[in-house]
């Protein structure tokens, strides 16, 4: 299936006339500020637009159509109710600056969401404003910096990250004006505490940690690790992208973390939308409370109101023009209310069950697990180094061939420390049958790798396009369409 570009459906003078004011109005713009020629927007009928974008949508894999075990991304079912009730006219037509008296309903929702997130994380305060995980990280590291600045401890600008960390961790540290120090992971998946001990010092602002880490195992020596960092005077940052693994089982606050961001668009199942929006709500321990980004919802007897710079004079400030991705927050709230306290625990239980089951079955089928002696968390890593070495079929080849079998590929080549890796996260919402079918596909592909490796190297064969040339894309940049 091929779909032309929308511009190729365009014809001068055509338009979806029902969609804008009919009476022609001349914009009273002074000549010097007026646009000279119209922008190149498509000129199509409403049907053409609907048909084009509907057809485009069908070219995607998605949770609603495919198993999507993309590690570190928690691609679970997004309940339709979350969308339906978040899109109630009163919520989506509300202007963010309307008086609080006209928004007590939504303020109560957000306040309750803050409270539930505190409970889930074991933190003391929560701010919902960060608009994605990375912005949550930013808020977190910025709070750490603000904390030290407030203590006049200006030397602490170094952020430690394990080599398995997600790229946003070091990138965030840099954005916050910190320097980054990387420490290695041991072959057993735990962090090398000796290296950590060696790395900390009076320059240490903190460590950013995902636990379970992005290699899919729980850091067993978290107590020691915390002690080392805290004793060195640093703070502990919890990258909560993987909260799906531990919901109700262990709380970052109880582990001693000082600050956390949560990817509500993962654990709390707001959709990922083909690239967002997300929400990176942050939680903090007592000592970072004053620095939370604003606005935050406060309750005063039975009234709710926004707390701002006046209420939190030490706040790191604002990260968005209003109060973050409210629509995403509504979806997370609805999801959490439908799960309730027991449902949330089940999330981590069944995410972990699915992950360990899939790992066990793949191992039996002859695949090499990167950390075979460890319990998998909600995700785990297969390394295809043997397959790559023996048959020349690498992780990318397996990934692309999986698409032909009707499965979205796991995350490939991340974390970077495991060669030819597939990071596989089935999530709790997938059935055993789906997992079994995935294993069957992996086995079949492995057989192909041995007997007909070109089937993998040429894959995918059945999708709208064959394998795309990424090198060409970057070298011969073609980023916008131009009329022929």
């Amino acid at each position: 299936m091929h779909e032309k570009l929308i511009f190729e459906h365009s014809a001068p003078g055509r338009s979806a006339d029902a969609q804008y004011p009919r009476v022609p109005v001349e914009a009273p713009v002074p000549a010097a500020l007026r646009r000279a020629s119209p922008p190149l927007l498509p000129e199509v009928s409403e049907l053409q637009a609907v048909r084009h974008f509907t057809r485009l949508s069908q070219l995607n894999f998605s949770i609603d159509t495919h198993f999507y075990p993309l590690g570190s991304c928690t691609m679970k079912y997004n309940p339709k109710a979350c969308n339906q009730y978040a899109m109630l006219p009163e919520f989506i037509n509300r202007h963010p600056l309307a008086p609080e008296s006209t928004g007590q309903g939504i303020l109560q929702i957000l306040c309750e969401l803050q409270d539930m997130l505190k409970e889930v994380t074991g933190m003391r305060g929560v701010s919902l404003t960060p608009m994605a995980g990375a912005q949550g990280e930013f808020a977190g590291v910025a709070m750490i910096r603000a904390y030290y600045k407030a203590r006049k401890d200006f030397a602490r600008i170094e952020i430690i990250v394990p080599d398995a960390a997600h790229g946003t961790n070091p990138a965030t540290a840099t954005m916050c004006g910190c320097t980054v120090k990387e420490i290695p992971t041991l072959p057993n998946g735990d962090i090398d505490l000796d290296s950590l001990q060696a790395a900390v010092g009076p320059q240490t602002a903190g460590i950013m940690l995902t636990n379970p880490s992005t290699i899919g195992v729980f850091e067993r020596h978290i107590d020691d690790l915390r002690r080392i960092v805290h004793e060195a005077g640093g703070l502990l940052y919890y990258d909560g992208a993987n909260l799906n693994a531990i919901l109700g089982k262990v709380r970052p606050g109880d582990m001693g973390f000082d600050v956390i961001h949560m990817n509500l668009h993962k654990t709390f199942s707001t959709p990922h939308g083909g690239g967002g929006p997300g929400s990176g709500a942050v939680g903090v321990s007592e000592r970072l409370l004053p620095f939370l980004p604003v606005p935050i919802v406060g309750r005063e007897s039975d009234r709710y109101r926004w707390l701002d710079e006046k209420d939190l004079p030490q706040t790191i400030g604002r990260l968005s023009n209003f109060m973050g991705n409210t629509g995403v927050l509504l979806r997370a709230y609805i999801y959490m209310r439908m799960l309730g306290r027991d449902g949330m625990q089940r999330v981590s239980e069944f995410a972990t069950l699915n992950s360990n089951y899939l790992a066990a079955r793949l191992r039996v089928a002859g695949f090499e697990l990167a950390y075979p002696e460890r319990r998998a968390s909600h995700e785990f890593i297969v390394t295809l180094r043997h397959e790559a070495h023996e048959w020349g079929t690498n992780a990318m080849d397996f990934a692309k061939r999986l698409l032909d079998y009707g499965f979205h590929a796991p995350t490939t080549y991340f974390p970077l420390l495991v060669p030819e890796c597939l990071l596989i996260e089935p999530t709790e919402t997938e059935s055993k049958e789906e997992l079994d079918a995935f294993v069957d596909a992996m086995i079949a592909i492995r057989h192909e790798a041995e007997t007909e490796p070109d089937k993998l190297k040429g894959a995918p064969w059945t999708l709208p396009v064959r394998r795309l040339d990424d090198v060409r894309a970057a070298k011969q940049l073609d980023l916008t369409w131009k009329a022929a």
Binding site: P79, N83, F91, D223, S320, L468, D469, T480
Partner: protein, 458 residues
């Protein structure tokens, strides 16, 4: 179990395959002292019916008042087609298009979006979105520092007439990297930024100048002069723009002799509902030569193994996945679904429709200003041409007036007096094409009564 498909049989078989006695055993690597005793503080589960009723009750409580605020988020008509397509599972429930071949729908759409935004801003290229306009401006400032190799100062000039929250956000995000922001005042009579204020910086090392068009007051800025000044002084020019306005206003790429270097703004007016504050999206466009300094995802067209064209994420080497601590930005998840909405919106409206929306909004705001300034105690703050917002000055504090209007079902505007104390009791109002003459009349009458009653009370 809501959203979990496991039967008792499944659980048993799966645990056997794993070799674990029970699910709890899977968590045995968590130190016992850290194990949580469940989540007693979270309320028990509701079913969908119950949560639906709850949400409807919350919503009913908030109601649907008649809105006259803009101030960075604008209530435009959104064709039904937009969200009925946006919420299709294939768009809604897909991840970032890492597997290009399985994501051609999203990728082609983003390529189309980039083309539209480049054209709308009259610049060469666009990224695939940032979080919002405010954080987008922060990214633009950081980008300017990277891109302007001639400048070492990290000094950036921002107008006072810029959306004040944008200024706050820029400070928070870019402030940690030792960038110095200096402020350009505005003309008290016209509301436009004083380009003459740039003179004092002539010859200095200035990294970039930003100008918002229209500015926060709705006033149109003299973008040509500012842009030319910037280029004459080796500074980059950053245009902060409302995308609707670009259908009728000179686009950043054509400001001054050379055009602005970076355009950023909030894409919300393009088919994204007000949504109580978000999600919206930030857009960014720039010249070709700066592409490697641009933050955010970029989609490129390329060929597949059969020579057929297709789309893929490109220039990922700038991004945090690969570049890590040296990335152009930490942004990863962006606002893809909103961009989907905007792309469909722009396709439906076309250049003509967007110009009609812009022009009608200008007309409506003029009609609103005319109607409200006839109310005793209300006058217009600035006399220069504007887009679709205006600052009104009241003869008494704004807040009680707004509260009184709210009780009548009217959201009367944004109280900007705290952020702009020198203006006095200042109210920023907006009427887009969605407001009818009857709506304007309703507002004017309610304001008349409110002013009469509170005057009487005073």
């Amino acid at each position: 179990m809501p959203f979990i498909p496991h039967t008792e049989d499944d659980i048993r078989t799966m645990l056997e395959a794993i070799g674990a006695p029970d699910i709890d055993a899977l968590f045995e690597e968590i130190p016992a002292n850290l194990r949580a005793p469940g989540l007693p503080g979270v309320p028990p589960a509701l079913n969908e019916m119950e949560v639906g009723r709850l949400m409807a009750d919350f919503a009913t409580r908030d109601g649907r008042p008649l809105n006259f605020i803009g101030a960075g988020a604008y209530e435009h008509h959104i064709p039904s087609a937009v969200w009925s397509i946006v919420t299709r599972g294939e768009f809604y429930s897909a991840y970032t298009p890492y597997q290009a071949e399985a994501s051609q729908g999203t990728l082609q759409l983003l390529y189309e979006y980039q083309t539209m935004m480049a054209s709308l801003t009259a610049l060469d290229i666009s990224n695939a979105s940032l979080y919002d306009g405010a954080s987008g401006l922060a990214e633009a400032c950081l980008m300017a520092v990277r891109a302007n190799r001639k400048s070492k100062s990290q000094r950036i000039l921002l107008p006072v007439a810029l959306n004040p929250t944008y200024r706050d956000v820029v400070q928070v995000i870019a402030g940690n990297q030792n960038i110095a922001f200096e402020l350009l005042p505005y003309d008290q009579k016209g509301g436009q930024t004083l380009v003459s204020a740039l003179d004092q910086y002539t010859g200095q090392d200035i990294t970039a100048v930003a100008l918002q068009q229209p500015n926060f007051f709705g006033t149109l800025e003299d973008v040509d002069a500012a842009t030319d000044w910037a280029h004459a002084n080796n500074a980059l020019m950053i245009g902060v723009v409302n995308p609707t306005s670009l259908a009728v206003l000179k686009p950043p790429g054509q400001w001054g002799k050379l055009g602005a270097d970076i355009a950023i703004g909030d894409g919300q007016p393009l088919g994204v509902p007000l949504s109580s504050g978000g999600p919206y999206f930030g857009f960014m466009a720039t010249r070709k030569e700066h592409v490697r300094q641009m933050p955010g995802r970029i989609i490129g067209r390329t060929l597949d193994l059969d020579g057929k064209s297709g789309f893929t994420l490109t220039l990922q080497a700038r991004e945090q996945h690969i570049r890590r601590a040296k990335a152009t930005s930490n942004i990863c998840t962006n606002q893809g679904l909103l961009v989907t909405a905007a792309t469909i919106y722009m396709s439906l409206l076309g250049a003509k429709g967007l110009a009609q929306v812009a022009a009608t909004s200008m007309q409506r705001t003029q009609q609103l200003v005319d109607a409200l300034t006839r109310v005793p105690g209300v006058r217009l703050a600035f006399d220069r041409p504007r887009f679709h917002e205006a600052v009104l000055l009241l003869d008494r504090p704004v807040k009680p007036v707004l509260e009184s209007l709210a009780r009548r079902g009217i959201i009367g505007g944004a109280d900007i007096s705290a952020r702009f104390p020198s203006l006095g009791a200042a109210l920023l109002v907006c009427a887009t094409e969605t407001r009818t003459l009857a709506d304007i009349d309703t507002y004017a009458q309610a304001l008349t009564e409110t002013m009469r009653n509170s005057a009487a009370a005073a």
